[in-house]
Amino acid sequence: MNNLAQVISFFVYLILQVIFIRHWALFDIAFCFIYISFLLLLPFSIGPLLLMILGFMTGLVVDLFYDTLGIHAASCVFLAYMRPLITNLIKPSGGYEITMSPLLSNMGLRWFLTYTSLMTTLHHLPLFFIEAWGTHFFLFTLLKAIASIIFTSLVVVLFQYIFYKNG
């Protein structure tokens, strides 16, 4: 994938998020934040600095639409900072090919599922707890976060099957 494809992907995910998926709420506790898929699927070759700046920008745009200035940005920066560590942690025995993107078709379902669920957790937990700003409704917030993690991960994987078949 070239840079143009990434830019298009950026806008598509954001528009999808802020126009359609914003209103999704399963059982009133599960929310979907599909836009992080953009950050998840950036190629391995991208530098951590650029990744963080992209994360910050993505989060900021989502925040503007959600009227939660800073919350998504903080979560996304955290996600971007953690991404290299996670990929290093779950590195397959052969290592990564530097030009590759972490797609389902490239990495296999097992790796991709692990990767997605870990990254989603790292994004959603800060997101929900910053939003709650404290531990008043700790269990409820945790419930919302876990439900949303499952929901978002599922959608990310589904998107892989639907739109990224060819890799």
């Binding site: 939660t68 903080a74 920066v77 955290f78 900072y81 910053i130």
Partner: protein, 281 residues
């Protein structure tokens, strides 16, 4: 310097991460009401805690001055209180002078019985209050439980009461339950009993009914108890009932009595005098 740069370079990702997160935090706090208020509150609490400690130390040091100030304040308040009390007293006095008519019609003057008789046909009591205490001839006297009599004569410090147990005394009475008027008169024989006169045969009277003052004479207050009906005879030769009643006042053990001063007595007397003159003419 180079080491610093190399340090920053080595941890450039981490520092970027930290600075970006700080930027986000700044935005969160400045742009979201809930978060900003929470931060504001907790920081306020911290500040308040520090101030509290500071204040508790300084206030202990300043205690002598505070005591002096409080003493001065107390003095000023006491003086003001005294002033206000004097004013209130003045106001109350003014009120009494202007509102005489609204005060109770009767004033009760307490007195101690110092002499008493029961067994004559003309019994008198003596009490330890006289003209100096505002007692005048003709005033009614009552006990806690019922009528006692009427002032016959008074000196400066003592007064004589014509007891209810006197052959010449009659009291305008009324049957309490149906307001029928009658007259009470002692029967001369027993200091516990009296007769009820002028009760017609048609009157519905039962043993146990209460007889009270009618209030017509203005000597006694209205509805003051006199006696309780003990027995009723229906004589053939007379159109009136023969009624005996138990006096509610126990004359044998009379200790304290109340002399009744009727404030409207004078006006009433003069009015009656005028009307009698008219009749005579």
């Amino acid at each position: 310097m180079r080491q610093l740069f190399s340090f920053l370079l080595r941890y450039r990702f981490f520092f970027t991460f930290i600075s970006l997160e700080l930027l986000c935090t700044l935005m969160i706090v400045r742009n979201n009401d809930y978060q900003s208020s929470a931060v504001f509150t907790s920081s306020n609490q911290f500040v308040a805690y520090v101030y509290q400690i500071n204040n508790s130390i300084t206030s202990y040091i300043e205690l002598p001055q505070v005591n002096d100030k409080l003493a001065k304040d107390n003095k000023a308040l006491y003086e003001e209180l005294a002033q206000r009390k004097a004013e209130i007293q003045q106001l109350k006095m003014n009120q009494i002078y202007s509102n005489t008519n609204f005060l109770p019609q009767y004033i009760y003057i307490p007195a101690k019985v110092i002499n008493n008789s029961l067994l004559k046909t003309k019994n008198y009591l003596t009490i330890n209050k006289g003209k100096k205490d505002g007692i005048e001839i003709g005033m009614g006297v009552v006990s806690n439980t019922g009528i006692v009599g009427k002032i016959k004569s008074c000196s400066d410090n003592y007064a004589t009461i014509t007891s209810l147990l006197h052959e010449n005394i009659q009291i305008a009475s009324r049957i309490k339950k149906n307001n029928i008027i009658c007259t009470s008169k002692w029967g001369l024989l027993d200091y516990r009993e009296a007769n009820l006169l002028e009760v017609g045969r048609h009157v519905n009277l039962r043993v146990g009914d209460t007889i009270v003052t009618s209030g017509f004479s203005e000597v006694y207050p209205e509805n003051y108890p006199i006696g309780i009906v003990k027995n009723i005879n229906y004589p053939k030769s007379n159109s009136f009932l023969e009624v005996k009643m138990t006096l509610t006042t126990d004359f044998a053990s009379l200790d304290y009595v109340y002399v009744i001063k009727n404030k409207r007595q004078k006006a009433l007397d003069s009015l009656e005098r005028v009307s009698t003159k008219d009749i005579i003419k």
